[in-house]
C-alpha cells in the first residue's frame, strides 16, 4: 500500500508540474472586471453586497481556527488551490484565454462563507500586483467569484453528494458549476452597468455571456476534474479529517 501512496503523490506533483508547463502564463489579461470599468454607483453597490459575506467568512474562519486548530492546514490548502488555479490562464475554444477559480474545493470542505475571504484574498493579490481585476471592481469580482461561486458549489455538492449519494460526481459538478456561475454573474454585472442601446440589458447580457461564459465552459470542466484530483489525494492521506468535517457539518 505504501508504494501506491508514494506513487500517487508523485503523480500529483508531476501532474501539477505538467499543468504549469502547459499553461505558462501568457501576456495579456484574463478575467474579472477591470479597474475603473464599472460606474461608481455600481462599484459601491457590489462592494456593499460583498462585505457582509466577507464578515461571515471571517467569523467562520475564526471559529474553525479556534475550535479545530488542526484544520488550519486544510484551510491553507483550500486557499492555495484557489491561488494556483487563478494563476493559470488556460486557452479555450473561443480563441481567448481565461482562468479557473478554484473556489469549489474550499466550499465543499468548509461551507460557502470561508471562500468569501480566501477568494477575495486571491483577487486582492491580483488587483494590487498584476493590474488584473481592480480595487474599485473588487466588490463586484469578489461577489461573483468568492460569494456566488462558492454558494453554488456548496448547494450542488449537498444536493448531488448528499441527496443522491454520488460523491465524486458531486465534487466535479460543484467545482465546474461554481466556475461557470462566477462568470455568468460577471456577465450580469456588466450587462446591468452597460445596457445595450438597442435591446437593453438582455442584449448586453447575451453579448458578455458570449465572451465570458462560453470561454469558460472547457475551463469549468478542467476545474471540476482538478478538484476531484485534489480531493482524491486528500482522501488518500487525510481521510480522517475529511470524515470529521463531514460529521461537523451534519451537526452544525
Amino acid at each position: 500500500m505504501k508504494g501506491r501512496r508514494t506513487r500517487s503523490s508523485f503523480l500529483l506533483i508531476a501532474g501539477l508540474m505538467i499543468y504549469f508547463l502547459l499553461n505558462t502564463p501568457e501576456t495579456g489579461h484574463a478575467m474579472h472586471i477591470m479597474e475603473g470599468y464599472l460606474p461608481v454607483g455600481w462599484s459601491l453597490f457590489w462592494w456593499a453586497a460583498f462585505l457582509p459575506f466577507f464578515f461571515l467568512g471571517l467569523r467562520s474562519i475564526r471559529r474553525i481556527v479556534k475550535e479545530r486548530p488542526e484544520f488550519k492546514l486544510l484551510l491553507g490548502v483550500a486557499g492555495a488551490f484557489a491561488f494556483v488555479l487563478s494563476a493559470l490562464k488556460i486557452p479555450s475554444v473561443t480563441g481567448s484565454s481565461s482562468h479557473p477559480t478554484g473556489t469549489g474545493l474550499g466550499s465543499i470542505l468548509f461551507g460557502p462563507w470561508v471562500m468569501a475571504v480566501l477568494g477575495s484574498l486571491v483577487l486582492l493579490f491580483q488587483a494590487l500586483l498584476l493590474a488584473h481585476g481592480g480595487l474599485t471592481t473588487l466588490g463586484a469580482n469578489a461577489f461573483s467569484m468568492a460569494v456566488v461561486g462558492p454558494v453554488v458549489a456548496y448547494g450542488v455538492y449537498r444536493l448531488v453528494a448528499g441527496r443522491l449519494g454520488k460523491q465524486k460526481i458531486g465534487i466535479f459538478l460543484a467545482a465546474a458549476l461554481a466556475d461557470l456561475s462566477t462568470y455568468l454573474v460577471t456577465s450580469v454585472q456588466l450587462a446591468l452597468a452597460f445596457p445595450a442601446a438597442s435591446g437593453g440589458i438582455a442584449a448586453s447580457f447575451a453579448k458578455f455571456a458570449g465572451i465570458f461564459a462560453l470561454t469558460q465552459v472547457p475551463l469549468a470542466i478542467s476545474e471540476g476534474l482538478l478538484t476531484v484530483l485534489v480531493w482524491n489525494w486528500l482522501q488518500a492521506y487525510n481521510g480522517q479529517e475529511l470524515t470529521q468535517l463531514r460529521l461537523l457539518k451534519k451537526e452544525g
Binding site: 499543468y19 489579461h29 488551490f81 487563478s86 481567448s96 476534474l225
Partner: protein
C-alpha cells in the same frame, strides 16, 4: 482502479487545454476581459474608466513573473500539506 483514475483526470485536463490550441488557428489566446473591454466600448462609446490600477506590471515579462509567483506560492503550500499529511499517516495517527 484508483491507481489510474488520477492519471485519466490529468490527461483529460491536458487534452482540454491543448485541443483549443490545435483547433483554433491564428489566435493569440488573449484574455477574455480584453474582449469584454471592446464590448463595453462598443455599447458605451463615451465611457471612460474612472480609476487606474495603482501598480501595473511594466510588461509581459514582469507580469508572467508575478503570475508564476502566484502559482508557485499556491503549489508550495499544497506540496507542504501533502508532506505533512503523508508523514502523519506513515508515523501512525497523531
Amino acid at each position: 482502479m484508483k491507481r489510474w483514475t488520477n492519471w485519466v483526470l490529468l490527461l483529460l485536463v491536458a487534452v482540454l487545454a491543448v485541443v483549443p490550441l490545435v483547433l483554433v488557428k491564428d489566435s493569440e489566446f488573449a484574455g477574455a476581459d480584453g474582449a469584454a473591454e471592446e464590448a463595453i466600448t462598443e455599447m458605451a462609446p463615451d465611457y471612460e474608466p474612472w480609476f487606474q490600477p495603482l501598480l501595473e506590471p511594466p510588461g509581459g515579462e514582469t507580469e508572467s513573473l508575478l503570475f508564476a509567483l502566484q502559482a508557485a506560492l499556491g503549489a508550495g503550500v499544497i506540496g507542504y500539506a501533502i508532506g505533512v499529511y503523508r508523514g502523519r499517516l506513515q508515523n501512525g495517527k497523531e
